[in-house]
Symmetry: D2
Subunit: 365 residues, 4 copies
């Protein structure tokens, strides 16, 4: 494509996995209550400015930083690399792309050493590191676990206007596509990309961006996700449940989307599949397939398509948001001229009312 980013001649760093999100929140106490008291993430360390949280199985210092700040936004999508030397590669890779790059031998957060942060070509703040303090893996600490225990950081999800452009760039960075959503004209609405052998470490979702769509944690079983919903109900905080629980078509995982006190979206996710073979089959879903986003065909709420979090530049200022110009997934599926089918294209527009969702219904009134 005309606007494609060049592939650097410098080799990409060898990324192991998504490792943590550095998240700016406006009320640290409210966020602590949500992530620690409600969701049960484990506090590795905390002070007046930031709280460092990890999931059960983690042995690196944290999977989530809650950092007090004036504007709710993402300060960094952070990935762990295989070796200390991969940081040099990251510097060269992004420098060649003309990106702003900052390296801090002491790290940008507690518990993490030598790190490189960049404003990537799509406007996202990406971080790479290897050095980290090891902390106790809590897998055997069943005495600490809750009914909704979050065991792993699973993935990020980024909103970006031009999905193929983003995909090509992240492929240059070493990611592999596992699944995507397209229409009959080849418009790409979203793509899932992985380093570790799961369906993804990050995904590109078409929309006004750069923005952060969600950060996802995994549970062991489906009932753990239901337990989170039940607990939110008991706390009279069910408003935090935005979408789900449900079964994804894409990824085949069981899911739930929550909104934290600042509106940051958090997914709880379990049971996708192994993707580690180089010839792992890529699955392309038709955007009009009503089971692609929810295997049970339950409607996606409009806010899930339209709302997302700002991301910060390396000075901590929100990145300006650029509008998507390709068709929007919401418009082509549940908009006035949009359509979705359950069984096959020939039965398009045959959805019963309970499957059309509020946005479709609004357009029809």
């Amino acid at each position: 494509a005309a606007n494609a980013l060049p592939t650097p001649t410098n080799p990409a760093p060898d990324i192991l996995r998504c490792a943590y999100m550095d998240l700016v929140v406006t009320d640290l106490a409210a966020s602590r209550e949500f992530y620690v008291d409600v969701l049960g993430l484990h506090v590795t360390e905390e002070d007046d400015e930031a709280i460092y949280l990890r999931s059960t199985e983690e042995f690196i210092h944290h999977n989530l930083v809650l950092r007090k700040g004036p504007v709710a936004a993402v300060a960094a999508f952070s990935y762990r690399v295989r070796t200390p030397g991969d940081l040099d590669k990251a510097v060269a890779f992004y420098t060649e792309l003309g990106c702003r790059v900052e390296r801090r031998p002491e790290g940008f957060t507690k518990g993490i050493g030598d790190s490189v942060r960049v404003e990537d070509p799509l406007g996202f703040p990406y971080e790479f590191f290897y050095q980290t303090e090891h902390v106790e893996r809590l897998s055997w600490r069943y005495d600490l676990q809750t009914p909704g225990e979050l065991v792993r950081l699973d993935h990020f999800n980024q909103v970006t206007p031009d999905v193929p452009r983003a995909v090509r760039h992240y492929q240059d960075l070493g990611f592999r596509v596992t699944e995507d959503i397209q229409d009959e004209d080849g418009v790409v609405y979203a793509a899932w990309m992985r380093r570790k052998p799961t369906v993804h470490d990050t995904a590109a979702t078409g929309g006004d961006g750069p923005r952060m769509h969600h950060v996802a944690f995994a549970t062991h079983e489906k009932h753990n996700i239901l337990a989170i919903c039940d607990k939110l109900g008991a706390l009279r905080r069910s408003d935090a449940i935005e979408r789900g629980p449900g079964r994804h078509g894409v990824s085949n995982a069981f899911y739930l989307y929550l909104r934290d006190p600042d509106g940051h979206r958090v997914e709880i996710y379990t049971q996708d599949y192994y993707t580690g073979d180089p010839d792992n089959p890529v699955i392309t879903w038709d955007v009009h397939d009503n089971q692609r986003r929810d295997w049970w065909g339950n409607p996606v709420v409009p806010s899930w398509y339209t709302e997302a979090s700002l991301v910060l530049d390396l000075d901590g200022k929100p990145q300006p948001v650029v509008a998507r110009t390709d068709a929007s997934e919401m418009a082509v599926t549940i908009g006035a001229d949009g359509f979705s089918y359950t069984k096959d294209e020939t039965d398009a527009s045959s959805l019963p009312s309970w499957k059309m969702g509020e946005y479709k219904l609004g357009h029809q009134l």
Copy 2:
């Protein structure tokens, strides 16, 4: 109330539990596929006119009859009574109420003996029986079980215009109320009533009636219900999922609502609580409490409030439907002037968009 039904001087029959529904379907093959191939109910017996189905734990002949007929409707809500002598009581009880009563010593269906059918004072076809063929209880037949195994018939749900009138009558019949939904003016929107010590054997839901809202089967665990959804997705029949899965506020059970090929609504349900003590606490929910119908606050789809199945008189003709004159639950909660709150009344109308639902949104456009 002025229109209250009289309490008979003749004692009520001693009802054990809801036992089976006699359901008229328009396409026997399509219904068999749904209830047997998809839902996995076990066939006790079948012929060209009817299929007799039971759930795993059942030892009586059937919990559901699928009967071929011209109009999709309910032919009987059937209850088992404690002794053969309770049939005489049923005859006297309903005769005193001026109801049409028919007794057949050979039963109305295969596998069931001496039975009494009545057009009850609310217009519902009720059946009572004791005699039945015993069949194998399949609890230990794990070799036959599916991921979404239905283990018990749990309850019926009836739509009726005047809920307090219905409740009083069913209390005369020996039912006890366990939970209900009311508003600040004492309008009753629904009530749950039991004989066996669960939350209900039947419920009265306010609406145009008499109609059948749903029949419910229980699973052992929540994942069994999720498995039914997953299977419907695999069969590209997700349109059958009308509402849920979710957690009820009322009953505290985990639930799913399906629509069968004729539109009859089937609930899958698990894990309510023991109610067998005479002083079991009755729970009254505020109709504006957004967690009463779904503990997670997920919106109820309009069709769930408005659609229901016809019921038949003893000649097999559909009973005329009488309109509800009390306020409708949908109108007072998600209608133009309705409201719902999550935490307490003082935050009414503060629901985020994703909790308001399509009908509310439609009213707001």
Copy 3:
């Protein structure tokens, strides 16, 4: 039988269900740690002498009393009756049987009013009551719940030398047998008896008695039981796990047996079946069927057969234990001359070594 207890002419009290066990423990702090901190039972009330605990769904004051005392034993198996008037019936019933009877209008424990305690004809301290303080039913309090949440008191289990004698007496008291274990000569090794429509409120297990074999609490799902095991492992208290988890043949429930700090046995149990119809089929298991006690054929440890708790008379003194004279289940199945089969009698003694169990192996060395 020659030694059969007479059936009283006075009618039996109408028992609703097993309600609580009054348990004497020697170290109140140690017991509190076990039942509250590990098992998560909820404290209704406590003082220096006793702790009153309940399960999630309970609305009566308690399901278990831990009472400090010099000898670990059971002070009462307590049942709730339908009406206050049933206490008069209890007095007359046991007085006619020549039993010691004590009635206390203020109750024997906190939170319970007018009560009758008796030394029953088999030597067990039985209690009956109707009056009780109502407390919050915690079913909706998911914020308080643990991964191994105990939701109901399910049943008691009593060791008694002559099982048919015990069964006949408890039938006189209104219990119905749901399942039992016999041999080809009609020797009865155990029987399960119910009031509420589950497999049992109590069971009679053949052995030296009167002793208390176990008290059982129910969870909602099987994973809740596994979570208790996992937590015990994390606390390095796995020695508390005596038998299981496993699937019962009898009752079809999923189970686990624990031993508390005094050695009292506690079962965790889930998912038996509805038994409320008067013609509920009784299941008789062959004592040599290796799947009767564990559906997976896993060996029963000898301690489970031989160890049990003392029971107290109404003065708080341990009842003397009378030896069983009928054959012992352990001897006829895994003893030197005993045998068990998996498929049918013709393959008796073909069990692989891993199914024989330590006692059988010990006899063979």
Copy 4:
């Protein structure tokens, strides 16, 4: 060590993961019934000589070959490599080690192309391949799934006399140790080694070898494993359950061990943890820790320690078995002079009788 195998100068092939086991069975129909009808593995292809089976998520041709033969044994432990070129590396690597090597461009089994088989220095038949037919990944085929669905091949387990010698060799082949069991003198009883980022692709278990201890398949949830047990009970095949279900200490996974009609041991396994970081913490368990093999402290049956399957050389002849000379895990833990502790070493030998197991008991009689 004096007997250590040399590290080849030729680089090792880049192994992705354990891919399939080629298993010789003596009665193909009996094995088919076990693996297909009972365990629900999916048949990709079959003929009179062999059956090719896969798990739900698999897209390569098979994860298990059942091959008719005169002696029950393992014909190959097969691994997938990253590229076709890795086969050349495999040839060079093993040739340098002096091993017998055979390469077949058409593969050794249906559905697999160019392959290298070797008799590895420890006597195990190892295979490497890249080319394979892609088949349908059945993850979304919930209509085909059973309550005990096996979703992935997880790992192999090999019995070998000298564990450190084996570990060093497999490290040369590119494996990383994640956990092991040692005693205070440094004797190594078992070690777990991975390529894909789970706890293992294979493990070395100390014992007379080379033999195959087990092959393991993963389920999504723990209840799936329980469902397999329940089904075996229903089929009166519970004798196939050798050990478990239980929770491993090592790996933290939930497990079950079965024995197939030939006595080949199959593990069902779920929920270990991510190990893909190069500095993933290695966990060493004390052999005397009673929770190392079963986190709940339930005894390991002697057969689990002593019985295993033969492995074949490239001519299809059983490899001779060499006796272990190091201490045996069974002897040092439950043998006459062995001991195990639950909480810490200071309470060694304090195990209650139900935790000691049949072998320990036998030694004490």
